[in-house]
Amino acid sequence: MHTETLTQTYPVTTGTLREITLRINGEERRLSVLPYVSLLDALREYLDLTGTKKGCDHGQCGACTVLCDGKRIISCLTLAVMKEGAEITTIEGIDHPIQQAFIDHDAFQCGYCTPGQICSAVGMLQEGKAKSRDEVKDQMSGNLCRCGANQQIIDAIMDVKGGENE
């Protein structure tokens, strides 16, 4: 017979709730969360901003990508309490030609990776580092798409980015 603790034990204390204010899509949102609540769960479960998706909760799929002060971050590996005062943009706050390009190029099927792809694409375009199609593919490779809409996603981004679509 063997006894097993199934996963690593968390401390049995539940911590103390923290009152925080997040700036999301230009709005101040107050919420009280435990210090270990991820930004992703804060958005989805506490603020009903369900556009940001959870595909792995481990930083492995990119579905939870949001913009934080204009930079793309993985919200499942970010604690909500870390982002007090930061300007967070989720898919609900994005208004960008890339969205229409995704529709035109049929750059999604189930749509579950789409918010992450779009936020990531907007962040990547702002970074301005990717020049060629190959570089765009590289720099978008943290965002998985199980439906296999990869080619159309890159087409849509190149369409908006313009030029160098070799």
């Binding site: 769960d41 481990h58 995704f102 099927q109 189930c110 749509g111 965002n143 296999g148």
Partner: protein
């Protein structure tokens, strides 16, 4: 303008690019409880003690469910059988102390917050009595036996009986090729985690937001298992974040969410985490053997294909791996066989192109091998053995434009630039190879119901319980309905993804468009009759009209020089909507004389690094003959998706099982490799024209699987052409190619 055939963008596109599309885990209601599942860490044995005290003491935890305190559920196996259940006894979550496979759900922690439920789950300790287990297929090939037959076998008939004398024909064949093929386990891994939100309304009625490929399948399951009247169970799945077969059967989070909601009389959401996505259905590990014989001229005379796949100890899951070769290549002597080995794993489940993408690899790689032996171009060898007759069923195909796939595909791809010898093409230190293969998938159709109704604003409303797992069902059904009445897309509303709508079977097997599309045609026909009846009583011009003589265009019903608007017809019906619900079904009698299949041919170019053995699919083309294509844009995406899956299957994805532990070792998306954007280069799809007047009203076949049958072997064949190495084990990793 006809809507069918137009590349119309997905109607739900706006919702998906703005984050407004709501998936089943996104219905947030006040006082929602969260459930987190605890899974067995051993592979086989018994739970001796399960220590739940720590978790129960945790602030926020409401209840811990285990086999000891779960509410009673139905007694009989039958009541747990769903539309896709293989023969056997379906798995019952938390049924008793017995552990049948690693990762089996053994407890559900329900709490006021997600965090408390998760933490509670981590605090459950279990004493197990372990027993010996077997999970290694290769070790138990001797134990292979015939699969049991049952309901699900109807859609997957066993291989046809032997014909001629295979052994003799093979012994006498001028040229032969034979090989063994090995495929590992794969998990569907849709991007959305499996999740169910059960809303408890206080009067015993449940509204269940579930991630599924069949709302009615889940409704019936919940009704049967929990002894609820079907009317009190509504399953809703408007958006499904991918499924690929994993949602064909009700998964355990549905059971657990409903169980907790009924017991606690509260709303409960249960979401699996990514590692738990590896604890239910999967594509089974499979070993195959082929022996093909041919004349010196390349005519195939003998086909032998055997497969041995794993299943669980409690259900006989089968998929058709070994049926396909005589459906493609007519040969007088065939010997086909499919067997199973029950192991201590969960039951496999259909996963995109189940059986087909496994079997076609073996068939098409063996054909490739034969072509080199014969010194006949691989494409030429397919043409030599071309037939529009299905020797497996002794029937002609209702339509088969595969030859056009071969010819147009080869032309567009530039197949003629291939030099015959392996290792004869290169680009610097990269070995270049071209490979091709044939694809086939059944063109099935099942019965379904649909409602069609015209309302007083002149809009057409069409309804079906069918889901849209991302394949474009909403858009395609709207197109079909619009054309029935000559309406623009804006005037048609298609409602779906809800068990209270008219019956549709599970969404899978590439049969949805034909199935629900035909139901819409039938319902429209009946609605037209009704409209004509109204016209006859209100408009003398229509007195002698027959339904077939009517023309519908721009919101008008026309008969000779007479016309009436749909608006006027509803007004004449005292403003009451004109409505019909009808069953659409395949024409069994007419279809009996034909075989039905969708075909494809894939052409692939690879580059293999001479030193590192790394493989890059630089470009690929799949030519498809799938009858009438309702929407070339969404259909193309379906095939492209299948092509990305092909790259994944041939080169990347595999769930690695440690047979010493009986456990999958890479239960996460960092170690379960699927292609990223950088892995995808030039992919192209070509739909060849194919008219099918027999198959159904619309001449539709379906494209969900066909993108994933031809291309995996085409990749393997291209690697052989590039390197001279024949690797018959998927995925082909660089280690198998490294000392070129």
């Amino acid at each position: 303008m006809a809507q069918i055939g137009q590349p119309i963008s997905r109607l739900e596109g706006k919702l998906k690019v703005t984050g407004a599309a709501k998936y089943s885990g996104e219905y947030n209601v006040p006082d929602l409880l969260y459930g987190y599942v605890v899974n067995s860490s051993v592979t086989k044995g018994k739970i001796v003690t399960i220590h739940t005290g720590d978790a129960e003491a945790l602030t926020g935890v409401v209840k811990v469910f285990t086999h000891l305190n779960r509410p009673g559920t139905a007694w009989f196996d039958m009541q747990y059988s769903d539309m896709d259940a293989p023969p056997g006894a379906p798995f019952r979550p938390l049924h008793n102390e017995e552990i049948k496979f690693n990762g089996q759900p053994i407890a559900l922690v329900v709490a006021e917050t997600f965090e408390a439920a998760r933490q509670g789950a981590s605090m459950i300790r279990v004493d197990y009595q372990e027993s010996a287990f077997e999970t290694d297929l290769k070790k138990h090939l001797d134990a292979a036996r015939e699969p049991k037959k049952g309901m699900a076998t109807m859609l997957k008939p066993p291989p046809p009986k032997p014909t001629g004398d295979f052994e003799k024909a093979y012994a006498e064949a001028a040229f032969k090729a034979s090989a063994e093929f090995t495929h590992g386990t794969e998990h569907h891994n849709p991007m959305e985690l499996f999740t169910t939100t059960t809303l408890y309304d206080g009067k015993g009625k449940l509204t269940i937001y579930d991630k599924t490929q069949g709302t009615i399948n889940c409704q019936l399951y919940v009704g049967n298992v929990f002894g609820l009247h079907f009317k009190n169970v509504r399953v809703v799945s408007p958006f499904v974040g991918g499924a690929f077969g994993s949602g064909l059967r009700p998964q355990y989070q549905l059971f657990l969410s409903v169980m907790a909601a009924l017991d606690l009389k509260r709303h409960v959401r249960v979401t699996l985490d990514r590692s738990q996505m590896f604890t239910f259905g999967h594509r089974p590990q499979t070993v195959q053997y082929t022996r093909f014989g041919a004349t010196a001229g390349g005519k195939i005379t003998a086909l032998n294909h055997r497969s041995v796949a794993e299943t669980s100890q409690f259900e006989d899951y089968t998929e058709n791996v070994a049926n396909w070769s005589p459906m493609i290549y007519p040969a007088g002597n065939t010997l086909l066989e499919q067997k199973l080995v029950p192991l201590d794993v969960n039951s496999p489940t259909d996963m995109r192109a189940p059986g087909g993408c496994t079997g076609l690899h073996a068939i098409e790689a063996t054909m490739d091998e034969l072509s080199y032996k014969l010194k006949i171009d691989p494409l030429e060898l397919r043409l030599i053995n071309y037939s529009t007759f299905n020797t497996a069923e002794n029937k002609p195909y209702s339509s088969k434009q595969l030859k056009e796939c071969y010819l147009q595909g080869a032309e567009q791809f530039g197949w003629s630039k291939r030099s015959a010898e392996p290792r004869s093409m290169r680009k610097g230190h990269k070995l270049v190879g071209y490979g091709m293969a044939t694809g086939i998938w059944d063109a099935m159709q099942l019965p379904a119901r649909a409602e069609a109704k015209i309302t007083k604003d002149g809009k057409l409303h069409v309804k079906s319980a069918v889901t849209d797992i991302g394949v474009g069902t909403l858009t395609v059904m709207t197109q079909i309905a619009a054309d029935e009445f000559g309406l623009p897309m804006e005037d048609v509303v298609f409602s779906y993804g809800d068990s209270k709508l008219p019956f549709a079977p599970i969404q899978g097997g590439s049969f949805t468009t034909a199935t629900v599309g035909t139901a819409i045609v039938f319902a429209s026909k009946a609605l037209k009759k009704k409209l004509l009846k109204i016209a006859k009583s209100s408009n003398p011009g229509f007195k002698d009209a027959e339904p077939e003589e009517l023309v519908f265009k721009d919101g008008l019903m026309l008969y000779k020089e007479h016309s009436v608007t749909l608006l006027e017809l509803v007004a004449a019906n005292k403003d009451k909507p004109v409505r019909t619900t009808n069953l659409g079904y395949p024409h069994a009698l007419k279809l009996r004389k034909y075989s039905r299949a969708v075909h494809s041919a894939s052409f692939v170019e690879v580059e293999v690094d001479e030193e590192l053995g790394s493989v890059k699919v630089t470009r690929a083309l799949t030519a498809v003959a799938a009858g009438r294509i309702i929407n070339p844009k969404t259909a193309r995406s379906q095939v492209l998706g299948g092509m990305v899956w092909s790259i994944s299957k041939a080169l990347m994805e595999e769930t690695i099982l440690d047979a010493n532990l009986g456990k999958y070792m890479n239960q996460n998306l960092a170690e379960y490799h699927i292609p990223v954007h950088a892995d995808i280069n030039e992919l192209d799809v070509l739909f060849v024209k194919e008219e099918d007047k027999v198959i159904n009203e619309l001449g539709i076949k379906g494209v969900g699987e066909v993108g994933l049958v031809a291309m995996p072997p085409a990749i393997a064949n291209a690697i052989y052409h590039a390197t001279g190495k024949r690797i018959n084990q998927f995925p082909i990793h660089f280690d198998k190619l490294i000392d070129l």
